[in-house]
């Protein structure tokens, strides 16, 4: 396993547990903000906080504003409605959904719209995803409901587009296009939905897994805007795979248990892969290797403390190997060499790749 040299690596201790974090789309050329879903175990308080990050030689996080919620956050996403108008969407374990609009000047929370618990889902919302322009949001839950929430100027409007009545549980969701999205669930299953064809999933993936791989749970999905036919998923036992809609029954396994040949694919982690994202950082050597045949480079973080980049057909590159779980990470879209990730042990790490 290769390890990548880091130009910069800093661990920033907090005194709260970080459930999720995201880079906020830039508000100006100079400021960089990080949105943190934090949980203070001493006061039992959950809040969404915006910290300013100064990426100098000694980066520090400075709390700018915070918004208190009643339940812990299960999923956190950010989007940009128009230029310089960011919005933050968060779902809670109690089942409520909140959309926050930070002020683009001083990032204070100006307004919030929410849908109370027990409305969208019975029980927790396991995942939500915001459309890139922030106009709509999809939420899924273990109760088997799939909801579409439209974010308008007048408030939130929601529509239940599917209810499996608990027969199928969904654990991850991701938009592919303004009308299509993908969901993931138990048994490493993926579903493809198209709003133009309502009534249920358009396509289902239930690969020809070898024994054992079916037992996984999909925790995170990513879809690259330029390759909408490929759905990237990460889940239990270090499984990371891509599902190509053009070849729906053959998963491309990037890490974890492989079909038939358990030794053929190198597995970078053996436990839960909490988040997957396409890695937008390209060094010169990387750019040469991009081919339309291959899956684009993928960054993952895992329960056993691994933050790594996986490329199809290559040895994975390890960025971090920590003693505790890495719950969540985000790549800065403007400076893709910069990555921020949250540790289970109440800290945040900021790293810059060379």
């Amino acid at each position: 396993m290769a390890t990548e040299t880091l130009k910069q690596f800093h661990r920033l201790p907090l005194s709260t547990y970080v459930d999720a974090l995201r880079f906020l789309p830039p508000l100006s050329a100079f400021d960089r903000y990080v949105v943190v879903a934090s949980f203070n175990s001493d006061s039992d308080e959950t809040s969404i906080e915006i910290h300013a990050l100064n990426p100098s030689t000694l980066p520090i996080l400075t709390l700018q504003s915070s918004f208190t919620l009643s339940s812990r956050i299960s999923s956190l996403k950010v989007a940009q409605k128009s230029l310089q108008n960011p919005l933050i969407a968060a779902s809670t374990f109690a089942g409520s959904l909140h959309i926050l609009f930070p002020n683009p000047i001083d990032v204070s929370f100006e307004s919030e719209v929410s849908i109370p618990e027990k409305t969208l889902h019975l029980g927790p919302i396991s995942c939500l995803d915001l459309q890139e322009n922030g106009s709509a949001c999809v939420s899924v839950g273990e109760d088997g409901r799939v909801n579409l929430i439209s974010v308008g100027d007048s408030g939130l409007d929601y529509r239940r587009i599917f209810d499996s009545k608990g027969l199928v549980s969904y654990t991850a969701a991701r938009w592919a296009s303004p009308t299509e999205f993908a969901t993931g669930g138990l048994g490493n299953s993926l579903q493809w939905w198209d709003q133009r064809r309502p009534g249920g999933p358009v396509s289902q993936f239930k690969g020809n897994w070898a024994q054992g791989a079916t037992s996984g749970v999909v925790h995170s999905i990513d879809i690259h805007p330029s390759r909408k036919h490929t759905c990237l998923a990460g889940g239990s036992y270090g499984t990371v795979f891509a599902w190509d809609l053009r070849r729906p029954q053959q998963p491309i396994i990037l890490s974890g248990i492989d079909v038939g040949e358990p030794m053929s694919s190198s597995s970078i982690s053996e436990s839960e892969v909490w988040e997957v994202q396409y890695d937008t950082f390209m060094s010169a050597s990387n750019r040469a290797n991009i081919s339309s045949e291959r899956v684009l480079p993928v960054m993952i973080c895992s329960e056993d403390g691994i933050l790594a980049v996986i490329k199809q057909g290559e040895e994975p590159t390890e960025l971090l190997a920590e003693n505790c779980a890495i719950n969540s990470f985000d790549i800065d879209r403007q400076n893709p060499s910069d990555v921020i990730c949250s540790h289970e042990w109440e800290s945040i790490a900021f790293l810059t790749r060379a």
């Binding site: 005194s15 019975l122 499996s164 608990g166 289902q204 239930k206 239990s236 003693n323 109440e346």
Partner: protein, 726 residues
């Protein structure tokens, strides 16, 4: 439980009420009111139990009599609240819980690393039949100690200004903690075997860092310096102040040479306008300052900014020491003193020389508590003191000279260490610094000391058959388990406990609320790391049943499958059939698709649910038959039907609906789809069903009245055709 719980309404607070735990100890009941935030009136039935960690779970049941009066917003079943009881931390200086957790998190990896090393070395020494302790081991222990030490705070200067303030005598550093001081003391005596010869000099450094901690209880050199520092700005001629000379002699006594020299240079005779008429005086001050800065020190090196000349070798040191003392004596007898007109300067400089020459009474008056005196003795009287026995004797002597009424916790710890009394050291660690300290310090105490190892590792009856070391680790693990964020690191400590570790780990895992997916996955991960398959299977079963009960059938089936729980899956299968049974013939069966997908292929444990999978296949081919006349599809459907009917997991009540659904297959135009034996099998099943209908416990499925007859007729027709065919 002897405790009785009463409901207490504090007067004037109608909207809040408190729970008062009544202690069985009737002599002096201590009452802690707990605020639970529930609205009164509280129903008479309450249940209180311990929840996770320090949380108390209070369940309030709705009383049946008040049903009518209860406002609608109160939930039907009552209400459950959890109250968090905040514990007080033993070491009051680190009262920030987050800081404690940071130390707990940080110490995990050094601890685990050392345990791994220990196990590896134990395995190796078994192979070689040699003693497990050698140079390597002490290196690992020191590494461990340094890592832990670095967690407890850094001694970096917080002032960042580049321009040095000449009047800034004391460096502005972060307030040190007793915990760190204690850990460093242990490190000096137990872990750092390499520097054993320089213990006195290490103690000098130690006191320089931590003397301020003693100030809380007794006056100290540090306190004197702090006070003098505050006054310094207002003083014109420092040499006229007795506080100035007191500060200098005290700092010199405990060996803070850089501060002494810095203070001496503040002497008025250095000022340019004074130089002319105070030349001799200035010469004397400078001579003393030079002598001080040239003091021989028996140590490997000195950190930047500290004064003295290092001698690694004992004989070199003795030579230098003798020479230095000779110079002091020479200066002491010098004739220049007579020419020094400033009385204060003359007397006090002479006093400084006495300190350097090791005058016991001068040292005693310059220091404030026995540890300072002890250090002074090391520096100026007995620089060669080595061995704990002689160090202990010296400490006893110093304590007699500078007695303290209530010794500071660091003093008590030091006495324990010097007295080579492991029990006392353990007791002090436990009493003053709490479970974290003792669980981690035992590694240092046992390093290289056979007696301490025997003492700590011997299994004891009165501790339930575990060793002292294990019992302390268990206690610490218990502390960790009581917090929602630290319970996940408790397994690392538990697993290092030979006797009860695994048992307690299992209990810990069982206590976690696994119906939260995150907790369940964490649980499974911990079980995977420590090979606790049965525990994780049980956790999955609990989660599965929970999901099932709450209507998440898919998740329930999934986790029960993961757990390989055939018994419950079969039970569930029976229940599922009730749902399926209603919809077997209509289109709504499609919504079951997802669940059936989850059941996967036959190789997986599905219990009685295997039927659903086969039924889905059958249904699919039947669908194709209905869409168009396809003989191939029809043949497949026929085969699926036979498979289903043969399979013992297919419940009896589905037989008739299945056959009725496949009427079209039985009345197939052209060749019959089923051969004679297959048709006979179906006929037999039908007969069995007719007999079963007579039994009282038979459950009738809602089928059209003539269903049985039409199936029977179709089967008979099919049989006839099949016979003709053959």
């Amino acid at each position: 439980m002897p405790g009785i719980v009463t409901v207490y309404h504090p007067s004037g607070h109608d909207d809040s009420s408190s729970l008062v735990p009544f202690s069985a100890d009737t002599n002096s009941p201590i009452v802690y009111p707990l605020h639970h935030g529930l609205k009164s009136p509280i129903a008479p039935r309450l249940s209180i139990s311990w929840s996770r960690g320090n949380s108390l779970r209070v369940s309030v049941f709705r009383s049946p009599e008040t049903t009518d009066t209860v406002v609608d917003e109160v939930e039907v079943g009552g209400k459950v609240v959890e109250l968090k009881l905040s514990g007080e931390y033993l070491d009051s200086e680190i009262n920030d819980a987050a800081q404690w957790r940071r130390i707990a998190y940080g110490s995990v990896s050094p601890f685990a690393h050392l345990q791994n090393k220990k196990n590896a070395m134990a395995a190796l020494s078994e192979l070689r039949h040699s003693a497990p302790y050698d140079v390597d081991w002490s290196k690992y222990v020191l590494e461990y100690s340094r890592e832990i030490n670095s967690l407890l705070g850094s001694r970096e200067s917080s002032s960042t200004s580049l321009i040095e303030d000449p009047k800034m005598v004391l460096e502005n550093v972060e307030e040190p903690s007793c915990l760190k001081a204690a850990w460093e003391l242990l490190e000096i005596f137990y872990a750092d075997k390499q520097s054993q010869a320089w213990i006195p000099e290490q103690l000098v450094d130690w006191l320089a860092d931590y003397d301020s901690l003693f100030s809380e209880q007794v006056p100290s050199v540090h306190l004197i310096l702090v006070e003098f520092q505050a006054e310094l700005i207002n003083i014109q001629a420092v040499e006229d102040e007795s506080a100035y000379w007191q500060a200098i002699s005290s700092a010199l006594a405990v060996g803070w040479l850089d501060i002494v020299v810095k203070l001496l240079r503040l002497h008025g005779s250095y000022q340019l306008n004074q130089l002319g008429n105070r030349e001799t005086e200035n010469g004397l001050v400078e001579a003393v300052a030079v002598l001080i800065s040239k003091m021989p020190r028996m140590r490997a090196d000195l950190p930047d900014g500290k004064l003295g000349e290092c001698y690694y070798n004992k004989s070199d040191f003795i030579k230098a020491w003798e020479k230095w003392r000779a110079q002091i004596t020479k200066l002491d007898c010098s004739a220049f003193w007579l020419q020094c007109s400033h009385h204060h300067t003359r007397e006090n400089l002479k006093l400084l020389l006495q300190i350097m020459l090791g005058n016991t009474s001068t040292l005693s008056s310059a220091t404030f508590h026995w540890v300072e005196l002890y250090i002074a003795h090391f520096l100026y009287i007995r620089p060669f003191t080595s061995g704990l026995e002689s160090m202990h004797a010296l400490a006893q002597k110093c304590m007699q000279l500078q007695p303290t009424s209530s010794p500071h916790k660091l003093m008590r710890l030091m006495i324990g260490i010097l007295g080579e009394n492991t029990e006392v050291v353990l007791a002090e660690c436990s009493r003053s610094f709490g479970p974290w300290m003792i669980a981690h310090a035992t590694e240092l105490l046992t390093a290289g000391s056979i007696q301490a190892e025997i003492l700590l590792k011997e299994e004891r009856h009165n501790l339930g058959g575990v060793s002292i070391e294990e019992s302390h680790r268990l206690v610490y693990a218990q502390v960790l388990s009581s917090h929602a964020l630290t319970w996940q690191i408790a397994p690392i400590y538990l697993i290092s406990c030979m006797k009860h570790g695994v048992g307690l780990l299992e209990i810990l895992l069982y206590k976690q609320p696994v119906y939260h997916s995150q907790v369940l996955l964490k649980n499974i991960e911990i079980c995977r790391l420590y090979d606790l398959d049965s525990v994780s299977a049980n956790a999955m079963k609990i989660a599965g049943v929970h999901h099932w009960k709450h209507g998440r059938k898919g998740a329930g089936v999934f986790w029960l499958q993961q757990a390989g729980d055939e018994v419950r899956l079969n039970r569930i299968a029976q229940k599922l059939f009730d749902f399926v049974g209603k919809s077997i013939s209509d289109e709504s069966f499609e919504q079951w698709e997802g669940l059936i997908e989850l059941l996967g292929s036959e190789s997986r444990t599905a219990g009685g649910l295997e039927f659903l999978h086969k039924y889905r296949d059958f249904k699919k081919s039947l669908q194709q038959v209905q869409d168009g006349v396809l003989t191939d599809a029809a043949r497949k459907a026929g085969e699926a039907l036979i498979l289903l009917m043969k399979n013992p997991s297919t419940p009896q009540r589905f037989w008739l609906p299945l056959l009725y659904d496949s009427l079209k297959l039985l009345n197939w135009q052209g060749r019959p789809l089923l051969n004679v034996s297959q048709t006979n099998l179906l006929l037999n099943k039908l007969e069995e069903l007719s007999v079963a209908r007579l039994r009282p416990d038979f459950v009738e499925v809602g089928m059209p009245a003539g269903a049985l007859n039409s199936v029977r007729l179709a089967l008979a027709t099919n049989l006839g055709c099949a016979i003709l065919e053959e």
